[in-house]
């Protein structure tokens, strides 16, 4: 009587994989939301130096970035003698406008923060490691004359040897 006998091999029921992808998509969106892409697309090659004694900056909203490095495309504005570009927001700066642009950059960055945050605003210098100090010194001088005194030399973490 085949009625009570088990019929051959019983197939294991297939797992429903459909909801699996939903879960993974949720993960994906979660990560896409919490991680931040760089707000400005980089116009310069940037490989920051590494250091051991780095500190984390307190708040990302209180940081304004200044990028200095070799331009990625040939059409970017450079500082003489034409090897290094300074990028503020998402534009490289013309050599003759450098002072004006840095001043305006500091002004707009300060204005977009509330009063009590202005003194805590940090200007992070993201400078390629092969850049000569002359460009960094120029920017530092401009920051200083415009009373933007909190700066940060961006650096990656390196372990103590």
């Amino acid at each position: 009587m085949s009625r009570f006998r088990k019929e051959g091999k019983k197939e294991t029921p297939e797992l429903n994989m459909g909801s699996m992808s939903d879960i993974i998509f949720m993960f994906l969106f979660f990560f896409m939301v919490i991680t931040t892409m760089r707000e400005a697309s980089l116009k310069v090659h940037l490989k920051v130096p590494s250091a051991t004694e780095i500190q984390k900056l307190e708040k990302k909203s209180l940081v304004a970035n200044i990028y200095i490095g070799k331009p990625i495309s040939k059409n970017e504005n450079t500082l003489p003698p034409g090897e290094v570009s300074v990028q503020l927001n998402d534009q490289t700066v013309k050599a003759e406008d450098l002072k004006k642009d840095v001043r305006e950059f500091i002004g707009t960055e300060k204005e977009s923060r509330s009063m009590e945050d202005r003194d805590r605003l940090t200007f992070s210098l993201k400078v390629d490691k092969d850049v000569q100090m002359r460009y960094v010194n120029t920017i530092k001088q401009e920051l200083r004359t415009n009373n933007a005194l909190k700066i940060n030399y961006a650096a990656g973490k390196r372990n103590k040897n």
């Binding site: 002359r134 940060n152 650096a155």
Partner: protein
Amino acid sequence: MSKRKTPGLNTGAMSDISFLLLTFFLLTSSINTEQGIPRKLPPPKQENTEDKIVDINKRNVLNVLVNFRDEISVNGDVIMIGDLKGKAKEFFANPNNDPSLPEKVSKPIDGIGDFPVSKGVVSLTNDQGTSYNMYVQVQNELQRAVNELRDETSLQYFGKKYEGLDSAAQRAINTAVPMSISEAPPIDYGSNGAN
């Protein structure tokens, strides 16, 4: 049999694809923590005030000079980057009260009491042709010297490392072991040679 069952879509591969996307995003995007070596620039020069030349005793100054070939000299001796921390530490700490190293002034500090604070100042001069990497390395080594001294002082007075202290105690340690770097205006010897 009238109706044929439609075959179920195999959605197993879908999750593979979304996994791939997930790993892609994990690798490319970064939870971008801003990190680096924080520094304070000196306030801008006032137009109408003359530069005050502060007379600092020679023993209180450690002259660190980085040239356009990224060579470092400390008080005239050429050293390697690895030796800078030791030199700076010795300079700031001056454990044996050597007369050629900086003097100390006893200051009352909250939470510590009287502490001999070093009057030493590192004078850092770089060339316009110095690479930024070397500049950061020098700043890093100087910071490391101070951090190690802060840790030692902190262990001695609070029994903990500097990082584990509360902010009031950290401030006390900062006063006891100040980070005093003064940056001289850069020189431009190597402008022809380096480009």
